[in-house]
């Protein structure tokens, strides 16, 4: 195939199926004439120099409304793409935290309290599985203990036990959880409190794991 540039003045084969018709408009190639945009389609700079010769700031801060409309929407699009990148970074952060949580394995068995240290209707605080996770052990009846993470699932305020009312109460936004199950029953929280799995050995209560739930 011959690759030499074709003379644009040469007569054209009008057949549509003929080779070389790609990119033609009508019977003339698009590149035959210089683009003849309307005046509204171009910005005339104060120095009458072409747009390519203008400094970058003049292209970013246009002096006519149509170009300004285009530039502001293009910049908004750029901002939205950056927002999209931020959301993806958030997903990546969750994935990294998930990997770390899995790599940490099961939390260890930790003694919380002796049964005799907690009166019926009373509670003790402890941290589990690490010092950043405050928890509450509540004795509901003679042989009935429950333990939950103390962080409210709404905004992580510390919940307070109210055994007489059968509730954990969050004073920040009036959230309430069932004291037996940790399920939210009032207020803004949507997820249950993280349950601490308890194990009884003799007269001692041990924390043996955590159970996070969505419902």
């Amino acid at each position: 195939m011959q690759n030499s540039p074709r003379d644009p003045r040469a007569p054209l084969d009008p057949a549509i199926a003929s080779p070389g018709r790609e990119g033609l408009t009508g019977t003339a190639p698009a590149s035959l004439y210089a683009p003849s945009f309307e005046r509204e389609q171009t910005t005339i700079a104060p120095d009458f120099a072409p747009a390519e010769a203008q400094p970058a700031w003049r292209q970013d801060f246009p002096i006519d409304w149509p170009q300004d409309l285009y530039v502001e929407r293009r910049d908004f699009l750029k901002f939205m793409v950056l927002t999209s990148a931020a959301f993806t970074a958030g997903q990546l952060w969750i994935a990294a935290q998930n990997w770390y949580r899995r790599a940490s394995g099961q939390p260890p068995l930790v003694r919380v309290a002796a049964m005799d240290d907690v009166p019926v209707g009373g509670s003790v605080t402890f941290t589990y599985p690490d010092e950043h996770d405050p928890c509450l052990l509540v004795r509901l009846t003679e042989n009935d203990f429950v333990a939950f993470n103390q962080k409210c699932t709404h905004l992580s305020c510390a919940v307070l036990p109210r055994p007489a009312e059968g509730q954990f109460f969050c004073p920040c936004h009036d959230g309430r959880f069932d004291i037996r199950t940790g399920v939210p029953i009032a207020g803004p929280p949507k997820r249950p409190l993280t349950r601490v799995v308890l194990e009884r050995r003799g007269r001692d209560i041990y924390a043996a794991g955590v159970e996070e739930r969505t419902t």
């Binding site: 190639p29 149509p66 750029k78 793409v81 996070e212 969505t214």
Partner: protein, 81 residues
């Protein structure tokens, strides 16, 4: 084989294109926001089955959005003659 010559987009055409892109990108960004909150809620509740699919879908949305933006810059820089 040389590519056929193409007339560059006019400013009005580019404005229409960027408006269309904005509609698409905004829908994808709203989807990503919903996906992030849903994934966070599920993960905090101990359900990690959605973490990697959520990341994949969100990354796909970002690729689409970034691809559109790159295309817009490309047609913007196309030679005008």
């Amino acid at each position: 084989m040389s590519r056929p010559a193409r007339r560059p987009f006019s400013r009005d055409q580019r404005t229409i294109i960027v408006n269309g892109m904005l509609v698409f990108v905004l829908i994808v960004v709203i989807l990503q926001l919903w996906l992030l909150t849903a994934t966070m809620n599920a993960w905090l509740g101990g359900d990690d089955s959605i973490v990697w699919p959520g990341l994949a879908v969100s990354a796909g949305g970002l690729a689409l959005n970034a691809g559109l933006f790159i295309y817009l810059r490309r047609i913007e820089r196309a030679p005008s003659s």
